[in-house]
C-alpha cells in the first residue's frame, strides 16, 4: 500500500495497464511530454515512448474519432478529454459511433477496447465551462458504460477494469478530488467490478445515494443526521451505466427511504432514472417520496457557486424532510 492522491492513482493505473499490455495507448491534449494539465499522464511518454503516449491536435472530435478507429483495429486506446465540459465536440463520435459500432455491424466490429477519461464536476471556481457533470447525456446512449470513482483506491481499480472491459467506457474523474482525496492504494494490479454499487456505510432509516465527489457530501450530511438519531445507509453508485439497481433496491427495501444527490442539474439528471426504477421495484416499501438534491436547472454559475451546489446542508435538510414526511 502507498499513500496516493487520485491523480497518482490514475497515473499508477495507466502505468500498470501500459506495462501489462503494449496495445494500450494514451493520448489527448497536452497528455504527452507535459503529462496532462492535471498531470494524470505524467512520465508516461518518457516511460513508454511517443508512439504510445502522445499529444493530439486540439480537437475532441478528432481525438474520439481517432480513438474509435484505433479501438476498432484492436488496439486499446485510453483517450483523454481535457475537461468534461469540452467533450461535446466529440458528442457525435461518441453517440453515433463509439456506442453503436458493435450493434450496427452485428458484432463484427467494436470500440469495446476504448476508454475515455475526462475530469468533471464543480466546486473549483470554474464557472460555466470548467464545472459541468455531463454523465446523464451519456447515460441516454445504449452501448457505453459510465464509471465514476470516489477516491484513489476506487480510481485505480475501476480504471483498470474499464480499460480491460470489452465495452467502451466513459471514465469520469471528479477533479475537485484530484489532489484533495488521498488514501492507501495497492501498488499491485487489481480491478474493482463495473456495474456494481458499493454500500459504504450501513444504516437503517434512509438510503443516501451519490457518486464521485458527492459521496463525501452525503457522508457529511449523514454525520449531521446521525446526531439527530437518523441512521443513514450510504451508497456509492460507482457505475452510472449499467447501474446497480439491485443493491440500491435492496437498501431501499430495508430503509424505506431514498435520497439521491448529484451535481448535475436536476431535470433529466440521472437521479430521475434511478427514482423511476426504484419506485417501480420498491413501491410498497417506500415510506416517503424519493428525494433528489441536485444542481439547479441553470448553467453552472461562478459567483453563486456555493448557492448552486447540492451541498451537505441542503442534503441534511432533505434527509430530515424525508424522515419526517
Amino acid at each position: 500500500m502507498t499513500k496516493m492522491n487520485m491523480l497518482q492513482a490514475i497515473n499508477n493505473a495507466l502505468i500498470t495497464a501500459m506495462t501489462e499490455d503494449e496495445k494500450v495507448m494514451v493520448f489527448g491534449e497536452d497528455v504527452g511530454h507535459f503529462g496532462g494539465v492535471f498531470r494524470a499522464t505524467s512520465n508516461l511518454q518518457h516511460q513508454f515512448g511517443k508512439g504510445r503516449c502522445f499529444n493530439t491536435p486540439l480537437t475532441e472530435q478528432g481525438i474520439i474519432g481517432f480513438a474509435n478507429g484505433l479501438a476498432s483495429q484492436g488496439s486499446v486506446p485510453v483517450a483523454e478529454i481535457q475537461f468534461g465540459d469540452y467533450i461535446f465536440p466529440a458528442f457525435d463520435q461518441i453517440v453515433n459511433e463509439t456506442a453503436k459500432f458493435r450493434y450496427r455491424s452485428g458484432g463484427q466490429f467494436t470500440c469495446g477496447t476504448l476508454t475515455i477519461r475526462t475530469p468533471y464536476g464543480g466546486g473549483i471556481a470554474g464557472g460555466l465551462y470548467h464545472s459541468q457533470s455531463p454523465e446523464a447525456f451519456f447515460a441516454h446512449i445504449p452501448g457505453m458504460k459510465i464509471v465514476i470513482p470516489r477516491n484513489p483506491y476506487q480510481a485505480k481499480g475501476l480504471l483498470l477494469a474499464s480499460i480491460r472491459d470489452d465495452n467502451p467506457v466513459l471514465f469520469m474523474e471528479p477533479k475537485r478530488l484530484y489532489r484533495a482525496s488521498v488514501g492507501d492504494v495497492p501498488e499491485e494490479d487489481y480491478e474493482l467490478p463495473l456495474g456494481k454499487a458499493e454500500v459504504v456505510k450501513k444504516g437503517e432509516h434512509i438510503s443516501l445515494l451519490a457518486w464521485g465527489a458527492q459521496v463525501e457530501v452525503i457522508e457529511k450530511a449523514a454525520e449531521m443526521a446521525e446526531n439527530d438519531g437518523i441512521s443513514c445507509e450510504i451508497i456509492d453508485l460507482r457505475s452510472i451505466l449499467p447501474w446497480d439497481a439491485q443493491t440500491v433496491s435492496e437498501s431501499v427495501k430495508k430503509t424505506g427511504r431514498l435520497l439521491i444527490n448529484h451535481e448535475a442539474p436536476q431535470t433529466g439528471g440521472f437521479a430521475s432514472e434511478i427514482s423511476a426504477t426504484v419506485q417501480e421495484r420498491c413501491f410498497l416499501y417506500l415510506e416517503s417520496p424519493i428525494t433528489r438534491v441536485c444542481g439547479l436547472d441553470t448553467p453552472y454559475p461562478l459567483a453563486h457557486e456555493k448557492e448552486y451546489m447540492p451541498d451537505h446542508l441542503k442534503t441534511y435538510e432533505a434527509i430530515k424532510r424525508c424522515v419526517n414526511f
Binding site: 480537437t59 454559475p301 461562478l302 459567483a303
Partner: protein, 411 residues
C-alpha cells in the same frame, strides 16, 4: 445560383463560378503536390530593432493613432502584470496574460471601426482596452461582482460588452469561428458598413469548428476577418505537434479565402494587414484570413508553468523580438515619444489598476435572484420554484452563504 461557366450571382453579389471541373489543368505525369509548394511570406515592416525596411509598404498612421496603440500596449502590460500578481495573492481565481502578443491584438483592433464586431478567444484584452473598456470594467468582470455586465457568471477574463461590440467570451475553443461567419453574414444582409473580426489561436484552429467556419464564410461570402494568433503553443503543445502543414495561412487557400501572413510582433505590419483585410472584406463581401506569427511569452494562464515544456533559451530568443520595444524604437525614431510623459502614463496606470482593484473587490456579487435570470427570457415555473426553495434554505444557514444571505428578499 444559376448557370454554368461565367459568373454567378447570389442576391446581387458577384461570385466566382465554382464548377468543380472548370479550369482544372491537365497533367500527363503523376504530380505530387507537397507542402511548401506554395510559399507564404510574412509581411514585415519594422525590423526587430524598430527600423523600417526600406522597401516596405507603410500604413498611413499619424502620431495620435500611434500613441493610442502604444499606450494601449503599455496599459495591457501593466494590467497583465498586476493581475497575475493579484491571482498569486489569491485575490482573483484565474488570469491569462497576453505578453508578447500585444502587437497582434492591438494592431489589428486599431485597424477596425468601432462598429465592427469583435469575437475573441480569451487573450485579446488589448483589443477590448483599445475599444475603450475601462479599468473598473475589467475589474468588475474579474471580481465577478454585480457590476459585471455578465453578472459574475463566468471565470475571470471572460469579458463581454455589447456597447463596445465585443461579444462575450466562451471558454469552449473555436466555437466563435463559425459564429463569426454568421454574424458577418447578418451584417452584410442588413447592409451595415461593418464586419466581424474573429480571433483564435493556432491550437483552436484544429477544432472542427474552424474548418466549418472558414468554409461557410467562404461559400456564403461573409465579411469576416479570421485573425489567427499563431503564438507557437496551445498550453504545452508546440505548434509542430499541432499541425504539419504550412501554419494556418495555407488553409485559407484551401478554402478559397484571401490570406495574409504577417509578423505578429510588428504592430505596423499587423495594422496594415488588417486595414487591407477590412477593405477587401467589405468591398468584395468575402472573408480574409490573417495569420500573425508571434510568441506567447506569458505562461498559458496562471494555472500553467511553462518550464515543464519549453526552455528559457527559447523564450529569450523571442524576448528580444518584443513587439512593444520594437514599436517604441520606431516611435522614438519618429520623435513621437515624450519619455517623461510616458513614464507618467505608466505610473498613473499602475495606480489606477490598484485603486480599481481595491474598489471592485468590495462590491457585492449579484443578488441570489440573478441566479435564475437569463437562463430563458423569463424564468419558468420550475426555476422560480427552485429559487424560492433556495432562498428559504439560505435563510436557514446564512453563515454558510455569506455572499448572498444578507440580501435575501422573500416575495
Amino acid at each position: 445560383m444559376v448557370n454554368f461557366g461565367g459568373v454567378g450571382y447570389i442576391r446581387g453579389f458577384m461570385v466566382d463560378e465554382r464548377n468543380h471541373l472548370s479550369d482544372v489543368g491537365i497533367s500527363h505525369k503523376v504530380n505530387v503536390i507537397d507542402k511548401g509548394t506554395v510559399d507564404i511570406p510574412m509581411l514585415q515592416i519594422l525590423q526587430p530593432d524598430g527600423s523600417v525596411h526600406s522597401d516596405a509598404d507603410m500604413p498611413e498612421i499619424d502620431k495620435e493613432a500611434a500613441l493610442k496603440i502604444f499606450r494601449t500596449m503599455h496599459y495591457i502590460r501593466v494590467l497583465d502584470e498586476r493581475m497575475v500578481g493579484a491571482q498569486r495573492q489569491g485575490r482573483i481565481s484565474f488570469y491569462l496574460a497576453c505578453s508578447g502578443e500585444e502587437a497582434s491584438i492591438i494592431g489589428s483592433a486599431a485597424a477596425l471601426s468601432d462598429n465592427d464586431m469583435i469575437m475573441s478567444q480569451y487573450r485579446e484584452q488589448g483589443a477590448l482596452a483599445y475599444r475603450g473598456y475601462r479599468t473598473e470594467q475589467f475589474m468588475n468582470q474579474m471580481f465577478s461582482n454585480k457590476l459585471d455586465p455578465n453578472k459574475g457568471r463566468q471565470m475571470p477574463i471572460h469579458y463581454g460588452d455589447k456597447a463596445l461590440n465585443f461579444m462575450t467570451i466562451s471558454s469552449p475553443l473555436g466555437t466563435q469561428i463559425p459564429q463569426a461567419a454568421g454574424y458577418a453574414y447578418g451584417q452584410k444582409m442588413a447592409g451595415n458598413e461593418a464586419l466581424t473580426i474573429c480571433y483564435f489561436g493556432e491550437g483552436a484552429a484544429s477544432e472542427g469548428d474552424f474548418h466549418a467556419g472558414l468554409n461557410m464564410a467562404s461559400v456564403l461570402n461573409c465579411p469576416v476577418i479570421f485573425f489567427c494568433r499563431n503564438n507557437g503553443y496551445a498550453i504545452s503543445t508546440p505548434a509542430n505537434e499541432q499541425f504539419s502543414g504550412d501554419g494556418i495561412a495555407s488553409r485559407g487557400l484551401g478554402y478559397g479565402i484571401k490570406t495574409i501572413r504577417v509578423d505578429g510582433n510588428d504592430v505596423l505590419a499587423v495594422y496594415l494587414a488588417t486595414q487591407k483585410a477590412r477593405e477587401i472584406a467589405l468591398k468584395e463581401h468575402c472573408p480574409v484570413l490573417i495569420e500573425a506569427m508571434t510568441y506567447r511569452l506569458a505562461a498559458h494562464s496562471t494555472s500553467d508553468d511553462p518550464t515543464g515544456y519549453r526552455s528559457k533559451e527559447e523564450e529569450q530568443k523571442w524576448r528580444v523580438k518584443d513587439p512593444v520595444q520594437r514599436f517604441e524604437n520606431w516611435m522614438k525614431s519618429k520623435d513621437w515619444l515624450d519619455e517623461e510623459q510616458h513614464k507618467q502614463f505608466v505610473e498613473q496606470t499602475r495606480q489606477e489598476v490598484l485603486a480599481a482593484m481595491k474598489k471592485a473587490e468590495q462590491v457585492d456579487i449579484c443578488e441570489i435572484d440573478d441566479l435564475i435570470n437569463d437562463v430563458y427570457d423569463a424564468p419558468p415555473w420550475h426555476l422560480k420554484e427552485q429559487l424560492s426553495e433556495l432562498k428559504k434554505h439560505i435563510s436557514l444557514y446564512p453563515e454558510a452563504y455569506p455572499k448572498t444571505s444578507g440580501r435575501i428578499r422573500h416575495d
